[in-house]
Symmetry: C2
Subunit: 259 residues, 2 copies
């Protein structure tokens, strides 16, 4: 059974998609088979891997709301060992459409954990969530074994953490008792700036060992890579950004091995 990780934080622009693409690529580089599930109506994870709107024959909308099997939605990403279930703007109305459906919070879990998906031979599924604690994000938390939380090193970023933790607890109590926090990764960190240092200190004080030692620095190569439709580890393999995501993959694997 593949390990399923939701990458979630309702604060916008904190590096969810960037972490999904680049952690996914780093895990694939280490020889794992990884599926990236794009649950964001913006479809940035799909765009960031070069899958234009016209190439998205089946999408995660079809997966969650139309009952199309995962094997038909999954497609190649162009990166060895990394495949993707593309997103679509149709997901914008997913919340409203799911409201009246029975077991609405389990739709994604049922689609991803269907026995037929074993044939894909996956080691990991990374679920890229939209910037909201809406039904799509709840679906991801119900489907997942754990949640990875990117935390931008900015003042406003700490504000939403308690609400995110509350939602996690509610999902654990009502739908997914095994859900745990995979870890918290500090993103867009700028060592010269005291705000970044302050946020990092605050995060380690409140969250302790949940915060990875690996910190992802603000690195222009990371923000340039989506324009070339490739992960940063392929765009500029020696960049600080590429090194950080490789280190994150390593630390995450080491922590999982200890469990």
């Amino acid at each position: 059974q593949p390990r399923i990780m939701a990458i979630a934080n309702q604060k916008g622009g904190v590096g969810k998609t960037t972490t999904a693409i680049n952690l996914g690529a780093a895990l694939a580089e280490s020889g794992y088979k990884v599926l990236l599930v794009d649950l964001d109506p913006q479809g940035n994870a799909s765009t960031g891997l070069g899958i234009g709107h016209e190439l998205r024959k089946y999408t995660t909308y079809d997966l969650v709301l139309e009952g199309v099997e995962l094997q038909r939605v999954v497609r190649d990403s162009g990166v060895k060992g990394l495949c993707i279930a593309p997103g679509t703007t149709d997901l914008t109305s997913a919340d409203i459409e799911m409201v009246s459906m029975a077991r609405r919070s389990f739709l994604l879990r049922n689609a991803l954990r269907h026995p037929e998906t074993e044939a894909l031979g996956l080691d990991f599924m990374l679920l890229d969530c939209p910037p909201a604690l809406n039904l799509l994000t709840v679906n991801a938390m119900v489907a997942a074994d754990s949640v990875l939380i990117p935390l931008q090193s900015e003042f406003l970023a700490l504000e939403g953490l308690s609400q995110l933790m509350l939602t996690l607890r509610q999902v654990r109590d009502t739908a997914n008792p095994d859900l745990r926090i995979e870890g918290v990764v500090l993103t867009m960190y700028d060592g010269r700036n005291k705000l970044s240092q302050q946020v990092a200190n605050d995060a380690r004080e409140t969250l302790g060992g949940l915060v990875y030692d690996t910190i992802v620095p603000r690195n222009v190569r990371i923000s340039e890579a989506p324009g070339f439709a490739i992960p940063v580890i392929d765009y500029e393999t020696e960049s600080k950004g590429a090194q950080a995501y490789r280190a994150l993959a390593k630390e995450l694997l080491a922590k999982q091995a200890q469990m």
Copy 2:
């Protein structure tokens, strides 16, 4: 009648809240009476002005869903000429609750344009939207005279623009025929970085005169200010960030005067 501007972009972290707070403060400094309406469940605009959760007696949830009059929700922000209708995490479920309500897209418009609100003597209302094209954002577009679009100078930021324009057109065709685009403001611009320059060129090519001449640079004072619960023009009045938001207010007023 006050001019009502929705500050919207479904891409997360592009500077919607930062623009709402600091443009609001710059307009207030020029002598206008400004109301900031916080429609984001994260409530960052309220936090950024020092209004803690325990101080938010009535919120925009009460305004939109409970029929509480605007005058009871509005409170002082601590900045002369700027008042605020605070947000709340209760807004997370607003979309689902509004789905079955009659005239659900007009709830905010009716609350803001109620005759009794004239007593507030406002010149501007700025509506800070969540990072989604959901019912809350649609409510803001239906209530507003115009939409101000912060555009982060990053590759992924251009991706969502066509979807945002599509939603604007749909709102204009179905609910608010006078809705126009106030303008597009480039945010977090880093002149040393060719990606910023490229995005700025692309934006001016596709959007022409809609893009303001004023560009908001990436400026650490802007991201520090919310930690002190004051706008950047009060936190560090000579900073590049404060100067940019004053210039934006001036350019916006000049453009409105020409209309």
